[in-house]
Amino acid sequence: MIELRDLEFRYDQSTFALQIEHLRLEATEHVALIGPSGCGKTTLLNILAGVVLPHAGVVQVADQPVAQLADARRRDFRIRKLGLVFQNFELLDYLNVRDNILLPLRVGRGLAVTAALRERAEALASRLDIADKLDRHPQQLSQGERQRVAVSRALLLQPAVILADEPTGNLDPTNKFVVLDLLLDYAREAGATLLTVTHDRELLDRFERVVDFAELNSWRPA
């Protein structure tokens, strides 16, 4: 579940701002967020993930008041409860596929790479058809394979909410449907919330709801 109320945010060095009166996504809802480049979609995802903090308002994600959490708890919440997928994959070149999938466990507080989580990483890789690439490095993979690695990493700890920032932006027509379907399948199976930022109108049919950011953000330049 995601809920925003009376959200306000602005960058220090910019006139741009976010003003969102209300947005609610149910726990099992799969929503596409559309809007022109630079309109603040990624900023909204960062607020939901607790990467940046709003100046005012309530941000409730997976039953947690994200903005009110202490820094350490917010990071812990991000690792354990959120699955983040990025347009440019955010993989580390010096880690192989297996280690990239397990990466959140290496940087999170109180987390460890257990045999069970290794098995889960391998199962995810198998399901996403990259099981034979586990010992390869990102440079040795195609764009589609890299995004599958990123999706595997996002789903490793069985998140309650998936925030995907243009996950298909760098993929070819075949792969973009494959990757999106993987996210949707997981969300359906796990009963997770899926919020996906996208520019690609071909994908919108797959979502239960489409939110236009231009209508969501009530701030207008003076």
Partner: protein, 391 residues
């Protein structure tokens, strides 16, 4: 391996050449001053021990350092020679027991030391196998020399000709190895010992050849004058001394004039030492030296140079440290996207800084380990290496 340590290790492995260069640079900065200090101290200790065990050295006037290095460490310096008559003169003085040395030739870089049996008693050298020198042409080897040449008792060593272009020169002498010395951890371990006369035969002062009165040598005879027979170069010369030909070996000229490179006079008492020093103090062609004094002079120069080198190394260490720091800082700046990724995934600032610190610590630990290994290797092999260079 957990968390950031694992990530740091993977990063260093992935950038292994960069990491290896950093480790090598830091290792050298750590090792060089330590290694140099160790090397110089170890060499000084070894050289002083040898010098302390040798009360006096007598040789022809010339460089005192060359004389001491040749007589004590069998260096390839070639001090001027003195005549064998000095040995009798010293013995007749009743003040010292003279030990003659003739160190001029080699067998594959291993010095051949011509001396008397007194040398083994003076240096307290024990046989590990075989027996002592008994007849002309035999050799006893230090244990390292035997190992380096790959020979044992019953094998042979051959003296190396001084110049391959000297076609009229001395033939190499093939010498049976009759004994191997136990390790003494001194230059004696790395030498071949022969009887003084054998050394002179290697020099060509003594030789053995076909009996000229026998019919098979007739073609080599040029002329016969009273008791002298003159032969040409086709005369068969022996390059090995055996029971069958040992009687044919002989020396031309006066025995008293045969050359030595040094004599080690072993004083019978402190008083005898002072007296013999006084006797040779003003000698016009000979010099009597106290090796410890000469080695102290040499080491004083070495220590002075070492101080300059250490200062230079200190400056290099500062520069290297600055460069290594710069490499880490630039690398860290270049890895900003990676840090952002870690933040996005939930890593704290502390975790990201720990990752950098873990990399620095790993490089430092590997450098310290490598430097320690180099110091240990220097301890084992550095002394002989430096002596090989210095001597």
């Amino acid at each position: 391996m957990s968390g950031v340590w694992y990530l740091a290790w993977r990063y260093l492995l992935w950038h292994r050449w960069k990491a290896a260069i950093l480790v090598a640079a830091v290792s050298l900065v750590l090792y060089l001053p330590l290694g140099l200090q160790l090397l110089v101290e170890q060499t000084a200790r070894d050289m002083n021990a040898r010098a302390d065990a040798t009360p006096l050295v007598l040789g022809a006037r010339g460089s005192p350092l060359e004389l001491v290095l040749n007589a004590l460490y069998f260096s390839d310096e070639q001090p001027p020679t003195l005549s064998y008559a000095v040995v009798a003169e010293l013995r007749d003085s009743g003040l010292v027991d003279p030990v003659p040395l003739y160190v001029r030739y080699y067998s594959q870089q291993v010095p051949i030391v011509g001396t008397s049996l007194d040398y083994f008693g003076f240096r307290q050298l024990q046989l590990a196998s075989g027996r002592q020198l008994a007849t002309l042409g035999e050799a006893v080897l230090g244990y390292r020399a035997a190992a380096d040449l790959g020979v044992g008792v019953g094998d042979f060593v051959v003296s190396s000709p001084q110049s391959v272009f000297d076609i009229a020169g001395v033939y190499p002498l093939k010498m049976p190895v009759v004994g191997i010395l136990a390790a003494s951890y001194s230059p004696d371990d790395e030498a071949i010992f022969v009887d003084l006369k054998t050394a002179w035969i290697i020099e060509g002062i003594g030789h053995g050849h076909q009996e000229l009165t026998r019919p098979e040598a007739a073609s080599a005879v040029l002329k016969t004058e009273d008791d002298r027979i003159v032969a040409n170069a086709s005369l068969l010369q022996y390059n090995e001394i055996t029971a069958a030909n040992i009687d044919s070996f002989h020396f031309h000229g006066n025995d008293a004039e045969l050359p030595l490179t040094a004599v080690l006079p072993v004083p019978r008492s402190d008083k005898a030492r002072v007296l013999i020093q006084g006797r040779y103090q003003q000698h016009e062609s000979l010099q009597l030296l106290e090796p410890r004094a000469i080695i102290d002079q040499l080491l004083a120069t070495v220590f002075a140079v070492q101080r300059y080198v250490l200062v230079a190394m200190g400056l290099v260490a500062l520069a290297t440290t600055a460069v290594v720091l710069l490499v880490f800082l630039l690398s860290w700046r270049a890895r900003r996207p990676e840090q952002d990724t870690l933040h996005l995934l939930g890593g704290s600032q502390a975790a990201v800084l720990s990752l950098m610190l873990a990399e620095v610590i790993m490089v430092m630990v590997l450098s310290v380990l490598l430097a320690t290994l180099l110091v240990v290797l220097t301890h084992w092999f550095g002394g002989p290496l430096l002596k090989a260079v210095v001597l």
